[in-house]
Amino acid sequence: VRSRGAIVAAVAAIVLAAATAVVLAVAGEELRGLVAYLGGFATVMLGFAVVAGVPMLVAPAITTITVAAGVTVVLHHDVVRVDAVAAGIAIYLVAELAYRSLEGREPLRVDGAVLLAHIAPVLAISLGSAAAGVGLLAVATDAHGAGAGAEAIGLLAALGVVVVVAMLARGRPPTRG
């Protein structure tokens, strides 16, 4: 038994992943074949994950599509890729939809207000990331403060890595029976 919401989320995840892969492939230019292959592989893997109900496959699929986006970004040495912000948000939304599809397999009665309140943080993260991303990119690529901007991004990256490593080292959170 699958809930209607789970099916809608699964279809939306697959369609959005495919669309992202196509856009990335088009932007891939000389490495178009590689990017298209990575994007297609990620989409198929994601489709299998949400249809067969294997949450473990979502992370590799999302990582693969992120690698495809990374290749497209790195490809253009001389151009600042503002659309990387949009690509990041699209990949985040694909991941959210895929996980929601897997978590909401059982049909449940959900009030519209509850659903809206639960979707709101995802939209807020997306919009907030877009604003922050564009701002950071502007700072990092500013002709006058390019060096400082790049250092800020680097520091932020280092901080992020520390946070991630600390979080992973923390392991399983404290539990209560």
Partner: protein, 423 residues
């Protein structure tokens, strides 16, 4: 409730970490932007996440229902900490359905108390515990999940639909105490038997003055006394046949309750023996409380698979009083139950069988061999019936869709004819 990270946390943290490292490594800030939403989601999620406390209780609007009824289950949830997304999944037994879905989603603020109603459909009789539930609570970013199980509340008792009987099963032997069966003996009673000449010891109130005036000597009326009977209902739980929730055991249970209601209402002593993988019995008794005991025993009856060779000796002596009439409610499938019925008849008990027919639940099959097998099976059943009847067992067949009263009328007719043959 056990709290653990969802696969989302590891995936998002990993993607954020990889993209940030790649950004530093290749000196391209755009790479960091690919993982920025994931990093933000993880940081925000970790910041907002906290262990939630949930209290949940269930209450049925009616704890007793009739098969086919709808009952509301009120789910009340309290949370001192608040919970962003709480899924309540009800573990419903197959006999209880939820037309609106067996689960619901709630969102509570700190200190909130929310009550929601879930309509339950009682599809089959029995004693069910519908309020066993498992809870799934996600935090706002769904990075952590808490899962727990909630113990059940009061059971939901679902009675089978009530069949009404007008006729009583006519017992071959009656007891000494007053009841509703007309005895063939002579004594104090209401039913007129015959007139006879006065004998010393006869009461004056028995004198038939018309007959006395006509014959010039004292004649008295003889009457049949009203007596009660001991009845034991033998519920065959060795096996059942059916489609989905509709089985021969359902028919047997419906017939048991109908017979128990009718006979206890007629002041008979009635007991029950559920004979199958697990033996259950209620010693014969009288009155409304006895009906309650029997209904409670019947509602938990179930077919428990057993290959043990069981004979009549396993029935407790108190469960089968002497001179009792035994009414077996059986699909006549399991050879052990057929053997026990035959053995009881051979031991001199007055035995009647209400065959809860499995035939309507079987289809002959499309292939010729299957059709032949089905016909052979039906012939075998006819042979079993003939064998039981030849042993003096009154037998009637009851199928779904026909009134039980008609089957019981058939039983009464058969017993009347049988008695004539014996004379």
């Amino acid at each position: 409730m056990e709290r653990r990270a969802t696969p989302r946390l590891t995936a998002y943290a990993g993607i954020a970490g990889v993209t940030l490292l790649a950004a530093v490594a290749v000196d391209r800030p755009e790479l960091a932007l690919l993982g920025l939403p994931f990093a933000v989601a993880v940081l925000v999620g970790l910041g907002l996440s906290r262990e939630v406390e949930i209290g949940i209780s269930f209450a049925l609007t009616d704890s007793v229902a009739i098969e086919g009824d709808d009952v509301d289950l009120e789910v009340t949830v309290r949370s001192p900490t608040g919970v962003a997304w709480l899924e309540v999944h009800l573990d419903l037994p197959p006999a209880v359905g939820a037309p609106g879905g067996p689960g619901l989603v709630l969102s509570l603020g700190p200190g909130d108390r929310v009550t929601r109603s879930v309509t339950l459909h009682c599809a089959r009789w029995g004693v069910h515990r519908p309020a066993r539930a498992h809870l799934v609570a996600y935090d706002r970013m769904r990075l952590f999940v808490q899962r727990g199980r909630v113990a059940s509340s009061a059971p939901l008792v679902v009675h089978p639909p009530a069949e009404r009987l007008r006729e009583l099963v006519r017992p071959a032997r009656l007891q000494a105490t007053a009841g509703s069966h007309i005895s063939r003996l002579r004594g104090d009673g209401i039913e007129f038997a015959e007139t006879r000449p006065f004998a010393p010891g006869d009461r004056l109130r028995s004198v038939n003055w018309r007959a006395t005036a006509r014959r010039d000597e004292l004649w008295v009326n003889d009457r049949h006394p009203d007596r009660n009977a001991d009845l034991v209902l033998l519920l065959d739980t060795f096996t059942e046949a059916g489609i989905g929730l509709d089985t021969t055991l359902d028919l047997a249970v419906e017939a048991t309750i109908a017979l128990a209601t009718r006979h206890l209402g007629a002041h008979d002593r009635l007991g029950i023996v559920a004979l199958g993988g697990v033996l259950r019995w209620v010693v014969p008794g009288l009155g409304t409380k006895q009906l309650q005991r029997i209904v409670e025993a019947v509602l938990v009856a179930e077919v428990v698979r057993s290959e043990a060779d069981k004979t009549v000796d396993i029935i407790p002596v108190r469960g089968l009083p002497p001179r009792a009439t035994i009414v077996a409610l059986s699909p006549l499938i399991d050879p052990r139950s057929i053997g026990i019925i035959g053995e009881l008849a051979a031991r001199g008990f007055d035995v009647a069988v209400v065959e809860c027919s499995p035939a309507p639940f079987t289809v002959p099959g499309k292939r010729p061999t299957e059709a032949v097998a089905h016909r052979l099976w039906l012939l075998e059943r006819d042979a079993v019936r003939a064998r039981l009847r030849s042993a003096g067992v009154a037998l009637t067949t009851w199928e779904r869709g026909t009134p039980l009263a008609a089957a019981m009328d058939e039983l009464t007719t058969w017993r009347r004819r049988h008695r004539v043959v014996v004379r």
